[in-house]
Symmetry: C2
Subunit: 288 residues, 2 copies
């Protein structure tokens, strides 16, 4: 059986056809312009590919509540043209197959939990630090939705006194995304993150924010594994710095076998940036 | 069928016998001194009361992992004599009945979810603000444990510049408990919270911390209801102030039917401080 997978982002749509073992047979990328243009390309791509279901891991906010009238909609996104767009309904109608649906970050977490470093882990979180900051959460083996879905990037973490920058979040003056996303680094230091790789002070401050956020997730969600992905996390020098801040900020309070071995507890994404599309593939397999 | 319920706190142990409808037939309170003294009083109380199971909602940290060798233990508590005490094993052995077990705050949440304001709500949180700050979390109708259990009071929220006080938490210089628990209020203002009821600045700052924490829980856990209990929350004037701070700090980012009606979303505990013992009773009913 083959399945369709869509990793729906604000810039591009990654589409792929894969089998039940997570092997991809084909893949294509389309730019995210307007829904009518972009969705037409996606539908044309999947038509005649004999897929039995589609999974969509989607930028948001999205409505994940199956009992809601707007289930499967992208809701209040700032991405022009896409707000209140019924992405699940449109794909289901055009392709005539079941559609699985979740947030992009829950998708990445599902990818890691199915094929990557969180395989067999019942409670895990996945944080992406890139253009934005977001996170997926798994509790008791199921992706957390609750009222809406987690918005981990918008937790208030407090700006450091030494930080000369300014939050880039239009909503919050000291949220994690506002202080530590790629655009925040660029705005504070005047260059893109990957041009600052050798500047220690950049990564020390970045690790301070990321490590603080991770301690807070640990206090709230008690995950058994914390996975970090996204463009900024390609700066591998961040990992030891983040673990150091985590240790300092936790200060021995949470003391388990897992937190005593932070090299295994706080880890990079393990699927070469395929965690999102692999999660979308799993959403297709689980669709009903 | 009758059940035994124990709300195990660091100061006192509330014990009760109740039926399957949540009606209590008897109740007793014992001081928490040493395990040998206190547990003897508890066992003697329940002996010959013909109970078919016991539920314990317990101060912590506790080990909730059924596959662990120390399941049912109170672990690294600062309460002298109680660390690494096998409370579940001892009660089970002495009374010869199944024992249900969870944290005190998960117990209170379970009480509210079974008999109180969170009845029928699949995803909710309960925060107690008193001698300490802690919280219980329900996701998809089940109490969250994860690696350990949530430690909501130890989330870092950042000390306000205007705050002349100092964190009272021995582990963290700006965690929620350190900045906003009863002892923190007393240390900052020089009087116990209930003697400060008329001082507006006390409750403005307190609401600032509580409201900030609640926004963060909303971003992390996406609950459908937030319940506030504990001694400090008896100051009813806090509720409108907290909702105001929540609204400001969220700043329209999370916008759902629930968050648009904060009077129903952020609510006081509804069971007259019986939420904990009622939760313990439910833990007994669910014990196996």
């Amino acid at each position: 059986m083959n399945y369709g997978a869509i990793e729906a982002g604000g810039t591009k749509m990654v589409c792929a056809v894969g089998d039940e073992n997570g092997k991809f047979l084909d893949r294509a990328i389309f730019p995210t312009t307007t829904p009518s243009e972009t969705i037409k390309l996606i539908i044309d791509y999947f038509k005649n590919k004999d897929i039995s279901a589609v999974g969509i891991a989607c930028f948001g906010p999205v409505d994940l509540d199956k009992s809601s009238k707007t289930y499967g909609y992208i809701t209040s996104t700032p991405k022009r043209g896409w707000e209140n767009f019924d992405i699940v309904g449109t794909v289901k109608r055009e392709l005539g197959v079941p559609v699985g649906f979740d947030t992009d970050v829950n998708g990445s977490l599902l990818g890691e939990a199915t094929y990557g470093c969180a395989k067999g882990v019942s409670d895990a979180i996945y944080i992406t630090v890139g253009t934005g900051i977001g996170g997926g959460v798994m509790v008791n083996g199921k992706l957390l939705h609750g009222m809406l879905h987690p918005e981990l990037g918008h937790m208030r973490i407090g700006k450091r006194d030494s930080d000369q920058g300014k939050s880039v979040c239009p909503f919050h003056d000291d949220c994690f995304e506002g202080l530590a996303s790629g655009p925040s680094i660029e705005s504070r230091w005047g260059k893109k993150a990957d041009l600052l790789a050798d500047d220690e002070s950049v990564w020390k401050l970045e690790a301070e924010y990321i490590g603080t956020a991770l301690v807070n997730y640990c206090m709230c969600l008690s995950p058994k594994k914390i996975i970090l992905g996204g463009g900024v996390m390609h700066q591998k020098q961040l990992f030891p710095l983040i673990r150091k801040v985590f240790k300092e900020k936790n200060n021995g309070y949470i003391s388990t076998e897992l937190t005593r071995n932070l090299d295994e507890y706080i880890v990079p994404a393990s699927l070469n940036d395929d965690q999102g599309i692999l999660g979308a593939l799993k959403l297709a397999m689980d669709a009903d």
